[in-house]
Amino acid sequence: MVKTDIIIIGAGPTGLFAVFEAGLLKLKCHLIDSLPIPGGQCSEIYPKKPIYDIPSQPEILAGDLVDNLMKQISPFQPGFTLGECAQTIEKNSSGDFIVTTDKGTKHQAPIVAIAGGLGTFEPRKPNLVDLEKFENHGVDYMIKDPEKYRNKKVIIAGGGDSALDWTIFLANIAKEVTLIHRRDEFRGALDSVEKVQKLKDDNKVKLITPAEVTELHGQDFLESIVVSNEGKIKTITTDYFIPLFGLTPKLGPIADWGLEIEKNAIKVNNSLDYQTNIPGIYAIGDVNTYAGKLKLILCGFHEATLMCQSAFQRIYPDKKNILKYTTVSGISGFDGSRKEAKKSTIKAIK
């Protein structure tokens, strides 16, 4: 059981910054995210895109914003449960929340802050008959353990970075890698496109374009696929089919937690402290809605800050506290680190 002060669901910019604001109040945080890396949409959808409306950052790449946030919060030693989806929430006898993931990891805290953005990222699935029958029986949407494909025949479908990256990676592991895409053109890092071109030229991977997988066949386990390539239909035997058509967010299990939902977002008590209809559960960032809501990273930062102040009051109702300025008080990390402004030089001039 992971025990902390605030369980933050969602490790996007808002969730990450909440760790900092909580840290200033000496509250510890643990983040849960279904993606294997922190950063949420900034890491998953647009790491290389610039953002222009972060105060004091005239231009910053989404990926760099995440890196900076990770650096900023590191003194407060946040815990992470990554690659797992927060599934259920319940209250124990002492009034703490227990959040359990789809993998069974349990987390306990008096406060839960949902910073889930647009929700859990789920793979976009192609429309194929029997697709679900073969899920985990030859059809995978994510590559968790590349060793699984050692000396196997693998077919990857897709035209973006993940299709290219995994084609390159598995070329050295699998017995045979075939990449199928609807067009000749791929949208990915130039370097990746060139690498796949070279692998193809060296006969290390097979490329079928413009083509589309139209059927899946097999008994209990996938045995072959049918591909339509410029009007020609052919059957290819394979051990695995990995469609990589990107991820799409779904509100997911939190939709069933008894929270008030409006327009696919969690309703909060206006802009007081972003608490939901369940006391002790907050919703911050893109996942919430209230009158005047704007889905902006900078608004998420503000919401995270107010949430932490309210969370402190809930945890320590009788403890006096006052807002502190980091310029004055500095930062005392849980790792023993200390940052503070240099003392002024006071010296006489004679």
Binding site: I45, Y46, L118, N127, R183, F186, R187
Partner: protein
């Protein structure tokens, strides 16, 4: 001079919505739909990276050519037809007066 255009969006239930869209606010079709609270997600915010604003061109307007980004996204999206476009890549202009589009399935 009036800077607005009137466009028609057919939702996924087949219902037509007449929308009045400004042409001087740098808006695209996805944003216009969202402004009218039509069920268009616009997940990626308009970067041609999610196809949640895919629509089918119904009227015979000559739209600007698809960019490489739009082509690439449509080549990976589902329910794509000859007349598929990404709403986020269609910028409001006077030439769009009378445009009719239909929202593609989610």
């Amino acid at each position: 001079m009036n800077q607005d255009v009137t466009i028609t969006v057919i939702d996924r239930e087949g219902k037509s919505h007449e929308l009045i869209a400004p042409t001087d606010m740098a808006m695209n079709l996805m944003e216009v739909c969202k402004a009218y609270e039509l069920p268009v997600e616009g997940t990626c915010g308009g970067m041609a990276m999610c196809a949640s604003c895919q629509c089918y061109l119904v009227s015979d307007h000559d739209l600007p050519e698809k960019s490489d980004d739009e082509e690439a996204m449509l080549s990976e999206a589902f329910h794509v037809k000859e007349n598929s476009r990404l709403g986020c890549q269609i910028h409001m202009s006077k030439a769009l007066e009378g445009l009719t589009v239909e929202l593609a399935p989610e």
